[in-house]
């Protein structure tokens, strides 16, 4: 059984051996190339994921900041300047919706991370600010002002200006802080992805490095085998033939060699023997 298997896989002759050796080298080259391609693909995929996540975080933060600014502008125009045109009302209402959507999205992204506390407070402050703005739009602030006017015992009565400064602006400030915290915090949530990328990058380099190392060893072996099994015996045969021709030194037919070089040695030896006869 073993002999049969051996016969199938046995390689004889210089030509076949060379072909097999170069095929092995080509195989390793293809393998190293394919591995690096595959790994680079993986690194690029992971990098893309991180960049997308980072871009998404920046977009959410920008949307929240923009909605906050629009809402603030609309409230200032309506409450402080006293411009009651419909345009500002529409702006305020749309900014409330935008702020809610963006903060909900931010909450979803951070709820399962170690920064969930930040997500909670961001959501709470945006909800508070939206409630204040909605209260103003619904006329509840004006109702409170009217009610307080009727009660004599209240020392500092609510005005639209004081509502803006003490209630709305204060919450606006809190939410601004939370948004800036979110901008840094959301980047930190990418930590695991960054770690994964560094792991993937390392994994991308190691197999390629190992394949190249193996290829280097294989090439060294090829050089060694060629020199030891073919070149050296050939040089010795040549020198021996030279010696025979020049000095009639008997040809050494015990030179260790293989394949066609062995045949060459034997043929030369036979030729010399025949020429003697």
């Amino acid at each position: 059984m073993w002999r049969r298997i051996k016969a199938i896989f046995s390689i004889n002759g210089i030509s076949r051996r060379m072909r097999a050796a170069f095929l092995s080298i080509i195989l390793i080259l293809i393998f190293a190339g394919a591995t690096s391609l595959l790994e680079l693909e993986r690194v690029s995929h992971d990098t893309e994921l991180i960049l997308m996540a980072s871009k998404n975080n920046v977009d959410i933060a920008r949307e929240m900041a923009s909605a906050l600014s629009d809402q603030n502008d609309a409230i200032i125009y309506m409450a402080v300047v006293g411009d009651t045109s419909r345009r500002f009302r529409i702006d305020a209402e749309s900014s409330i919706a935008r702020l809610k959507t963006a903060s909900d999205e931010a909450f979803k992204l951070m709820a399962d991370t170690e920064y969930h506390g930040l997500a909670d407070s961001l959501s709470m402050h945006s909800q508070n600010l939206n409630t204040l703005a909605q209260d103003y739009l619904d006329g509840n602030v004006h109702k409170r002002i009217e009610q307080e006017k009727l009660i004599d015992t209240i020392p500092n009565k609510l005005t639209i200006g004081s509502w803006y400064v003490n209630e709305y602006k204060a919450e606006h400030k809190n939410l601004s802080k939370q948004i800036s915290k979110y901008m840094t915090g959301s980047q930190s949530t990418l930590g695991p992805e960054v770690n994964r990328l560094s792991h993937t990058a390392r994994r991308a380099v190691t197999p390629v490095f190992i394949s190249l190392l193996v290829m280097f060893v294989v090439v060294l072996m090829l050089y060694f085998f060629l020199k030891r099994l073919y070149i050296k015996p050939m040089l010795r045969i040549n020198r021996n033939v030279d010696d025979y021709i020049t000095y009639k030194v008997p040809f050494d037919d015990s030179i260790e060699c293989h394949d066609e070089i062995k045949e060459l040695r034997d043929n030369i030896s036979t030729l010399i023997t025949k020429s003697h006869k």
């Binding site: 591995t35 390392r202 193996v214 294989v218 090829l222 060694f224």
Partner: protein, 481 residues
């Protein structure tokens, strides 16, 4: 020396390793294509190419010289350790180059010490490869190749002579051709039986197989962070103790016992000394632990003492207790067991009971000779007279072993280890035991040691596994005529 012939045989050993990597990849596939599949397949491919390449140019050689035999054996161990790193390196995690080298050397030399802080984080495929290295290393990398690869032909005898411990050959009363078959028969049989028994004791198939491989290879690699203590199961401990103790006996004697021959374990002086040493050490340690109230009952003290004694004597290194907390008497006895270790011709490392037995007889005879200068005294083991050459070898080995342990300890101390850690780490590495005491106790690992000491440990493991002189010969191959 015909280097191309040496490379050919090392290549054949690499093919064997590549097939084990493939088998581990199979385990990965069975475990839902875990993350080890890719590293194992890649490693298998490059190892296979490395192994096959020399076969393209070098035809099988029926005769190899002793010098070439040494180069093949030592070269195979070194190359196996290097190639064994590939799956670890590609997988990543805690495996830096030095850590992967440490884990690979520790596996092949069956030392069983680790640098991993979280073994359970490893995927099953990689864990199986880790255990495979210890299993291959247990019987000897070249020995394994000799049995598995049929084309080696007449070269077997020489390679087996070089690979097998000098002292172990005397106890084999078989033809060299049969010895390898016997070794594999006993080794595989023991592993299969242990796996089944561990499964019946409550382990899952994977844990049972991997622990059986490790116990029969007397390595001590576990798939759990807290080693065998994780299972906290006396039946499992009993099965493991049995497997380790049997693996510490000369395989030829085990085969003789199974086949009903005369030179069996019941008649062997060495086995009696080996079992006696373990029994005495267990009893003294258990009594010491119970009297110092480390364990509340004598039964519990006996359970832990017996497991640790068997584990360290057989150079396995599995743990069920933190031996750092034990009494000084217990620690000294365990260190003694780590130095003496199992029988020659087994999978265990260390000085070997055979050598200790012969050394004590030489000392006894020396005293006797001083009293009766004209007496003719011969030194015998199992009724066989041992020649001066064997006795000289034994004494030289013991001296070399102790000197090496001392030098190793000095190196550990030079890089800041305390006395206990330095001394026991050196002993644990040369004897291929694994755990020592102090910073590298039974519940700790080698990860806290600096890189230079991890490298030093691997060097000691290799020297110990190649029985000191085998390794040293490698550097004198040019001057060897």
């Amino acid at each position: 020396m015909r280097i191309h012939v040496v490379i050919r045989y090392i290549g054949m050993m690499l093919i064997l390793l590549a097939s084990f990597m493939l088998a581990s990849a199979g385990v990965s596939i069975l475990n839902n294509y875990d993350s080890a599949l890719y590293p194992l397949l890649l490693s298998s491919f490059v190892t296979m190419i490395l192994g096959l390449f020399p076969l393209i140019f070098v035809d099988s050689s029926d005769e190899i010289k002793t010098k070439e035999g040494y180069a093949i054996v030592v070269g195979s161990w070194l190359v196996a350790c290097i190639v064994g790193m590939f799956p670890y390196l590609i997988w990543g995690g805690e495996f830096t180059v030095i850590n992967a080298w440490f884990e690979s050397v520790s596996g092949f030399t069956t030392t069983g010490s680790s640098i991993l802080n979280d073994i359970e984080a490893l995927p099953r495929g990689l864990l199986f490869w880790r255990q495979s290295t210890t299993w291959i290393g247990g019987i000897g990398v070249v020995m394994f190749a000799l049995v598995v690869l049929p084309s080696i032909g007449r070269s077997r005898q020489l390679l087996y002579n070089v690979e097998l411990s000098t002292i172990a050959k005397d106890n084999f009363h078989y033809r060299s051709h049969d010895i390898m078959r016997i070794l594999i028969f006993v080794y595989v049989g023991l592993t299969v039986i242990t796996t089944i028994l561990l499964k019946l004791s409550g382990m899952c198939w994977f844990d049972a197989a991997t622990h059986a491989m490790s116990a029969c290879g007397t390595s001590g690699f576990s798939t759990k962070n807290s080693s065998v203590a994780f299972f906290d199961n006396p039946t499992i401990e009993l099965v493991m103790m049995g497997a380790m103790a049997i693996s510490g006996i000369h395989f030829g004697i085990l085969y003789a016992t199974i086949t009903g021959r005369r030179n069996n374990i019941f008649r062997s002086e060495v086995v009696r000394a080996y079992v006696g040493m373990m029994l005495i050490a267990t009893f003294i340690i258990a009594t010491s632990l119970f009297s110092e109230e480390i364990y509340s009952s004598f039964g519990e003290a006996l359970r832990h003492a017996s497991f640790q004694v068997v584990s360290l004597t057989t150079t396995s290194g599995f743990a069920t207790a933190n031996t750092n907390l034990w009494t000084p008497l217990a620690i000294i006895l365990l260190v003694f067991c780590s130095i003496v270790c199992g029988c020659a011709g087994s999978t265990s490392g260390g000085m070997k009971v055979d050598r200790l037995l012969l050394a004590t007889k030489v000392i006894r005879n020396r005293i006797h000779l001083q009293q009766h200068p004209n007496a003719v005294i011969s030194t015998k083991t199992d009724g066989m007279v041992q020649g001066d050459n064997v006795l000289n070898l034994v004494m030289t080995f013991i001296v070399a072993y102790l000197l090496l342990a001392l030098v190793g300890a000095v190196v550990y101390a030079m890089f800041g280890c305390d006395l206990m850690t330095s001394f026991t780490a050196s002993i644990a590495c040369i004897s291929n035991v694994g755990p020592g005491f102090g910073e590298i106790g039974s519940m700790d690992n080698y990860s806290q040691l600096p890189a230079i000491l991890r490298l030093n440990s691997t060097l000691l493991m290799l020297i110990g596994r190649l029985e000191i002189f085998g390794f040293i010969q490698l550097f004198f191959l040019r001057s060897w005529h």
